[in-house]
Amino acid sequence: MIGGGIAGVQAALDLANSGFLVHLVEGTTSIGGKMSQLDKTFPTNDCSACILSPKLVECGRHFNINLLTLSDLIALEGEPGSFKAVVRQRPRYIDPEKCIACGLCAEKCPKKVSNVFNEGIGERKAAYLSYPQAVPLKYALDPDHCIGINKPGRCGVCAKVCPAGAINFDDTAKEHVLEVGSVVLALGFSPYDPSSLDFTGYGRLPNVVTAMEFERLLSPSGPCMGHMERPSDGREPKRIAWLQCVGSRDINRVGHPYCSSICCMFALKQAVIAKEHAHGEFEPSIFYMDMRTHGKGFENYYNRAKDNGVHFHRARVHSVIPAADPGNLQLRYVDEQGQVNFGEFDMVVLSTGLQVGKQTLAMAEMLGLELDADNFIKTDSFNPVATSRPGIYVCGAASEPKDIPQSVMEASAAAAEAGQIMAPARWSETSKKVYPAEMNIHAQAPRIGVFVCHCGINISSVVDVEAVAAHAKNLDGVVFSQCNLFTCSQDTINQMVSIIKEQGLNRVVVASCSPRTHEPLFQETLRDAGLNKFLFEMANIRDQDSWVHQLEPEKATAKAKDLVAMAVARVRGEGALPYNTVPVTKSALVIGGGVSGMTAALSMAEQNYPVTLIEQSECLGGNGRKVYRNWKGDKFLPFINELTARVTTHPQISVKLNTEISDVTGSVGKFITTFSDGHSFEHGVAVMAVGGQAYQPEGQWQFLHGINPHVQTLLELDQRFIDEDATLGEVKQAVFIHCVGSRIPERPYCSRVCCTHAIDSAVRLKELNPDMDVFMLYRDVRTYGQRERLYQEARAKGILFIRYDLDHLPQVSEKDGQLVIHAHDPIIDANVIIHPDMLVLATAVQPRQQTGVLSKFFKCAVDSQGFLLEAHMKLRPVDFATEGVFLAGLCHYPKPMEEAIAQAKAAAARASIILAYDAVPAESVTAVVTPAKCTGCGLCVAVCAYNAVSLDENGVSTVNTSMCKGCGACVAGCRSDAVTLKNIGNEQIMAAVDAAFM
């Protein structure tokens, strides 16, 4: 796995979790990539670090992920299934085994350097941690700037202050030779550097920043702590302009003919978030060519932004020059009416495009991979993650500009592909830890051990740890307490194991840092000592005490005593919990026999899992059979026929046509689905790929469709292409209307595929008859990514684009059978009358009506439009909140076939993770009902987000442990205290509270 950004991390986790050993090779000191630099993510405004961190931590701790930071792949030889990869790891100069991330080295380091993580805004030290949540949470020395490295003997302050003796100026590079079955590239992108675009003023005018720089300015962990300050004078900007397409859609000066796809939303999000950050009046303005908000939830976001006062100017800015007011900027632009305008702003943000990084190019060359015209790694239309070299896959922005969910989907898809190659070797390279048998502590009086950590001097320089340990000794149930220099160090951990055994401890409290980072380590220690890992609590006396009360040692000590007493009180009432698992039935159900369903089925079958594929109609292929070709010109039918053949003949796939679902019971690991024919089927996972359907034009969007024979939808035109209808060449004049049924109040989303599809169809018509006049009536042309090339081709071929808006819909009428179209061209501000002999409607993509019914069977959610709602829009794009059920294709959101295929493979990868195990772990901290106290009111059922609670036949609440996530919403909601959360019951929590007042 090359690259530790979000795509790399996702692919590594998917592979490691499905039984493969993964070497994750990352060039910098830590994983996280570009996403870790973001403040918020669109369209949910989720905090980027919050949603990313858990994945990074999981990756860093994973038993079967070998994380190689500061490393580069330098050579690869061999065949798919048996490659030999050579990885060179540069020296870190700080021993990660010893580093406790106390930060003293950075604090004392005399050398200040520009902060790369903050896009060069502000400074960090030569001894550094790239960002607070970095994984691995280990400092490094910057070899380019460290005095000690470059001039041995001249500095060495860090080595003197490091309490762990982790500094090693003599660290050297290492080479690792790795035997791998497959290589996945997640090389990411590099933002376009706008320095050469002199009209932007970037580099000369301090208040012109790139979007990524602005992101760091917004971030609470950024250089100005989330207070929006402009670089020149630290003032909070009141007017900010975003300039779109800087380095994208620009052949002239940049040589990037493609659209970077994400910048419209990126700018929208920044405008919205900046408005939230701003105190008082704030005016964000976005200068754009087309607003490309083609993703799920994007159009709504755009509409909300418009409603919330974000100004939009359809214009390319001519120049950014200093305004009279120091620091302010004046923009000159021509508006749609052709008027020259000036606008003054406090700050300008350049929505810089995405491009392929130099390292990616070098890597592609080293590996012998083909690149496309834009230097992105070339992939296949029908296998969007396969590179030109077998066994090497690519995911994320290295193959085309794309957003996070798409990258994550491709990461999983790449994992599926790699998993297919390596399926025979599953579990052969991985290792599994063996623990001693657990002591039964039932009915034992508490024997609590308390370990108080100095954390070098991180805690002990403020808190009197000896006094805390002495205090702990007298607490009820405590039989042992001691201080340790580093409780998390390997020798202390070993010592803890023997103390637990010698002292017969049955519960443990560690007073040190945060359970969020260290609880798993200590819980592991308990298991090593034969104790159930849930008999453990931490008192956070570092992050939440010594570090935040540095000037109040006495108070900090008193607080530490309380925190320890609270943890002791809490652990006293805790019991051993089961390591819950759910046995897995190793077969999958795929619902829907379109391209997505077939792809998912095939991918799982290729990994040797039996799959049942059901399709409600009498043939496989779905909507794909109705479409002629994609924007690259690849025809669909041959591919679908081949796919159908592979599916129907695959020994692991059983296809049931004309079949629907009549009932589903069970949950992850074991679903029992009953089909319309009365048969039932037991399966461990399910993939919903039920597709979508074309909107049938009606009302003001009907445009004589079904009345005048010359009016047809895109799919109807496709059928004529497929049938090679010779009469098409005779058409003299054709008009396409975009957004028929999309982006309107009833359907406030962009159907994503229709711009490209319509333009490609127009191009096809031009191919059939180059003299044909073709008009495109559009609202925004959303040929995102490299589809932009198609748009260029269309214009080059003479296809005319006329914009319309909702206030000026094209008027279609007929006179003696002849179509008459009135449209308004806003550029020339004149009405246009066209008399075409063909009108094509680019109709919306809608979810199928049955989607809602099906979703209820599997307890999955649908969004307000009726599309299936994934677990998380950003990072879990193919999962549902309900475990064991996955989604792919048009039922999720309109998308072109290559994206549907990637998503289907991703769904297969995610499903295969469950199928790889005989049993899957389930949450141990789960809710449990005391039936005698239950009123059966059903409040717990209503507030459970996971459908884990239900009323049984006696009207009493019961919890399905395998679905419960342990959030406790039911517990807090229950008036009669009939529900509790194991070990996080009211008893334990209130014992902790009361202990604070003893």
């Binding site: 205090h471 007298n474 007493a565 005698a932 007042f997 003893m998």
Partner: protein
């Protein structure tokens, strides 16, 4: 027995005198906190000067809480970490100072004697009894809900009172019933009551207010099984909402529960009023509840008062004050229950 004559003015002066040495309490007629700073609920501390006003019928709150406080602290302890006495149980120091309760009605005075039967050996009840003097006023007028005579009491009864005041034409005569009464009267210069007044009171006692529990007494002889299985309980239990209003306002309900309460490391073991109306009252640790149904609990309360208690101690455990009749939210009227029970015979 000594009987004195007292005018209203002298009564005031007496209360003033008492309040110099003792804590003196009088009933409150209006809303008053359940636990005010130094008083049992429904009573107020008086220091003379304020004239005593009594309403017709029983005092709003019974005297029960002077003897059976809600709650009574049995033990105290500390759980403070590092405290040398951590976990050590101590009996709290309790005041032995005499408290004088003025304005008690004969029904309530009798209730103390009835509660004394089960609490004969209860040190807490006895200690409270020791230090409490009851100064009562017989009832020239009763309410329609009063039925003390039926229960073996009398509106003019002096049983259980240390001093019993009865109205005369121009004031009161006061009967000194006990040694505690003597202590209260010591040093007061009062004229003895006239014979005519004494005999007038005696004749009132023998006519209007004669104790007569003969009818109800037949219950004492009747077979428990038949009373227990009587069909009347079903409808009674059905309408009863099992609140504890009747038990808590009742002067003769004396059940309690014991709990430990710990706040900020300071603990106390308290005994507080419980009610047989509550399911928790009879709930076993096992989860089994012998009186798990509402009807069982309703029946228990009445049979306890009218059958189990008399079978064990002799008298009925009801003084006929009628408070429960007035306050039962669903109009369960013990007089009707009694007549229904008699009809079972």
């Amino acid at each position: 027995m000594k009987v004195f004559k007292v005018s209203s003015v002298e009564l005031d002066a007496m209360m003033q005198e008492w309040s110099k040495v003792h804590r003196v309490y009088a009933p409150v007629l209006a809303k008053q906190p359940a636990t005010s700073s130094d008083c049992a609920p429904g009573w107020r501390r008086v220091d003379g000067g304020s004239a005593l006003t009594l309403s017709t019928g029983p005092t709003p709150a019974s005297v029960k809480s002077f003897f059976f406080p809600q709650p009574e602290t049995l033990l105290t302890y500390t759980l403070e970490n590092n405290h040398p006495d951590k976990g050590l149980m101590r009996e709290p120091a309790k005041s032995k100072k005499m408290q004088v309760v003025v304005g008690v009605r004969p029904c309530d005075a009798r209730s103390v004697l009835l509660n004394n039967l089960p609490y004969q050996e209860d040190p807490f009840f006895q200690a409270n009894r020791q230090r409490t003097a009851l100064v009562g006023f017989t009832c020239e007028q009763t309410l329609s809900t009063c039925f003390c005579s039926q229960m073996g009491g009398s509106p003019f009864g002096s049983e259980g009172l240390d001093l019993a005041f009865s109205r005369t034409q121009d004031g009161f005569i006061v009967e000194v019933g006990t040694a505690k009464g003597e202590v209260l009267m010591a040093g007061l210069d009062l004229a003895p009551a006239e014979e005519s007044e004494i005999s007038a009171l005696a004749s009132r006692r023998s006519t209007g207010g004669k104790a007569d529990a003969t009818e109800l007494d037949t219950l004492k002889g009747s077979e428990l099984g038949r009373l227990y299985d009587a069909p009347m309980w079903k409808s009674l239990g059905e309408s009863c909402i099992n609140c504890g209003a009747c038990t808590f306002i009742c002067p003769t309900c004396y059940c309690f529960d014991i709990q430990d309460e710990v706040v900020r490391g300071q603990g106390r073991r308290i005994r507080y009023w419980d009610s047989c109306m509550f399911p928790l009252y009879s709930l076993h640790t096992s989860g089994h509840n012998p009186r798990g149904q509402k009807v069982q609990r309703t029946r228990n309360r009445f049979l306890h008062k009218l059958k189990y208690f008399p079978d064990r101690f002799g008298p009925f455990s009801c003084v006929g004050c009628g408070r429960c009749v007035q306050d039962c939210p669903v109009n369960i009227d013990i007089r009707e229950v009694m007549s229904d029970l008699l009809a079972v015979e």
